[in-house]
């Protein structure tokens, strides 16, 4: 039995992993692979959420988009940067997802890629910039504000939480976890809302009690990033 197997060491391990966490190109690729896994596993659930207040294909479309990215990740060279990976994700989503989610997520990843530039590895400042740019890109395209019952209801709390954690001096892993937790709460918080954007907006009060599928897929993408920490 090694000292690391002692129960008391678990927290210390996580802290150590957090401190050593480097959001480099390898990490970015692992994150996108994990997103593809998670979306495939949640395909039916997202379709069901979308059927309740939309047209029932959000899981289908997101799964198709992220599956299309996987073979392209194999073709990346060693010199690739996190920004280049994000840009590849953006162009693939724009050309494969369709619906509203394609241009919205595509723009998010495109703006995120722009925000991190040519950096080889992302620190907490870069991570906050990435999340903020992604959210701003979605607002630019979709023109939704918080409370409209859209994916912005997951993105904006995530950006705010990440920013607060960074300001408090937290390491990058903690910033990521704060974003994922906030997105998850934000997605839950769309349930009692009336929608003001997208197809659900035509339902009026009948949308109440249903979670917005876009906010749920956003939560899944950010959770996938946070999950990588515990996998290390």
């Amino acid at each position: 039995m090694t000292p690391n197997d002692e129960p008391g060491a678990v927290v210390g391990d996580a802290a150590l992993a957090n401190a050593a966490l480097r959001l480099d190109t390898g990490w970015t690729i692992r994150w996108i692979r994990r997103c593809a896994e998670v979306l495939a596993a949640n395909r039916a659930t997202l379709n069901t959420l979308d059927r309740d207040i939309g047209d029932g294909d959000h899981g289908e479309n997101m799964d198709r988009g992220f599956q299309a990215i996987l073979p392209k990740l194999e073709e990346l060279t060693d010199e690739t940067t996190p920004g280049a990976v994000l840009k590849l994700v953006a162009t693939t989503l724009i050309s494969t997802v369709g619906g509203a989610a394609g241009p919205l997520y595509g723009t998010a990843f495109l703006k995120a890629a722009g925000a991190v530039g040519a950096a080889q590895s992302l620190d907490a400042t870069a991570l906050v910039a990435l999340l903020t740019a992604a959210r701003d890109g979605i607002v630019l395209r979709g023109k939704a504000v918080e409370g409209d019952k859209t994916m912005i209801d997951a993105w904006t709390p995530a950006v705010n939480a990440a920013s607060a954690a960074h300001t408090a001096g937290s390491p990058v892993g903690t910033v990521l976890l704060a974003a994922a937790d906030a997105a998850e709460h934000g997605a839950q918080a769309t349930e009692p809302l009336v929608a003001r954007k997208g197809r659900a907006s035509y339902l009026g009060e009948r949308a109440i009690g249903h979670r917005d599928p876009g906010s749920q897929s956003t939560s899944l993408l950010l959770r996938a990033a946070a999950d990588l920490m515990s996998q290390r």
Binding site: D55, I94, G98, G99, A100, P103, R199, Y202
Partner: protein, 333 residues
């Protein structure tokens, strides 16, 4: 649910392949990226008109490609907007140097994908104008929704703008005609049954045997309210009321009346709807001088119908009467 399909994954591709063979005299098909163009495209000096959107609304839009109407149609997956690349490719394929008009139904996905494609086309040096069709009066408050949807009135916009392009109007003029039609047409629909998206395999919503949905969109999304089934005349009155209130029609006006089937309602019922609608318009002093009855903007096998009223003037009437040769509309040529 029984459907005449082979595999849900191949529904759109196989349907377009069949269309290509059936109407080879009118259209050419690009399979990857997927779009349909007029057999004689691009036409030098003529404004190109491109429309598109999710499949499942046939004959919209492929059935309206041809002389006097659309230059290209871009079909997406069933009820899902096409992505920007086929829209861009279609735009390039019909650009004859006079610019391209995009006619887009006001659904969030369609608007965002066409907007992205228009940006890319502009970067490619093609002049693009976009007209968003939003004729659906069932959506009450545009301030708190994604706005009024583009439904069956789209057919009238495409026909009339197509005629303007065919007679040689420039891009701004063609866009102006399209805007004019959109501003003068109002639509409202009813569903008697839901529809089943092939890859989903189950209805997108449920209606009891004695229930109907008033104010339905064209993707099986629920509408304004759910009520008990009524006689056709009462339903027509419910649909026409908001249409006539919304666009101030006056006694002496001339109108085009479109009774559109949603896919699963027989012609015999559509004419019962038309009879009552024409009667109500007559009572208001509005003369129906042009009419169209049939399945033009469908929602797969949904039973139901929509009523569109377009306020005509001499210009719009002449453009409506101009020759058209597409698989779904054909006259004068």
């Amino acid at each position: 649910m029984k459907k005449l399909i082979n595999d849900p994954k191949n529904v759109v591709n196989e349907a377009v392949a069949g269309f290509e063979v059936a109407h080879a005299d009118i259209v050419r098909v690009s399979h990857d990226p997927l779009f349909l163009v007029r057999a004689d495209a691009p036409l030098r000096g003529k404004v190109g008109i491109v429309s598109g959107g999710g499949s499942g609304h046939e004959p919209l839009h492929g059935g309206f490609v041809g002389f006097g109407m659309l230059d290209a149609a871009v079909p997406g997956p069933v009820f899902t907007s096409p992505t920007p690349d086929p829209i861009l490719a279609a735009t390039q394929a019909v650009d004859g140097g006079a610019g391209v008009l995009h006619i887009v139904k006001n659904y969030t996905g369609d608007v965002l994908n066409f907007e992205t494609a228009a940006d890319l086309a502009a970067a490619d040096g093609i002049q693009v104008r976009t007209v968003i069709v939003n004729d659906d009066v069932a959506v009450k408050d545009s301030l708190y929704t994604a706005g009024r949807r583009g439904v069956a009135g789209t057919v009238l916009v495409e026909k009339i703008a197509g005629a303007a392009a065919e007679r040689g109007d420039d891009l701004d003029a063609v866009a102006g005609v399209a805007e004019k039609v959109n501003s003068r047409v109002r639509t409202m629909g009813v569903a008697l049954t839901p529809c089943v998206v092939p890859h989903a395999g189950e209805p997108s919503f449920t209606l009891a045997d004695d229930e109907i949905e008033i104010g339905i969109g064209i993707h099986g999304e629920p509408g304004r309210e759910r009520i008990k089934l009524e006689p056709a005349n009462a339903i027509v009155d419910r649909l026409l009321g908001p249409i006539l209130e919304d666009l101030p029609f006056a006694s002496g006006d001339e109108a085009l009346l479109l009774v559109n089937g949603m896919g699963g309602t027989p012609q015999i019922e559509l004419y019962i709807v038309f009879r009552r609608a024409a009667e109500v318009l007559q009572e208001r002093g509005i003369t129906v001088t042009r009419s169209l009855v049939g399945n033009y903007t469908t929602s797969l096998e949904m039973a139901g119908a929509s009523i569109s009223v377009l306020k005509l003037d001499d210009e719009l009437t002449a453009l409506w009467d101009a020759p058209v040769q597409t698989s779904a509309l054909r006259w004068g040529r």
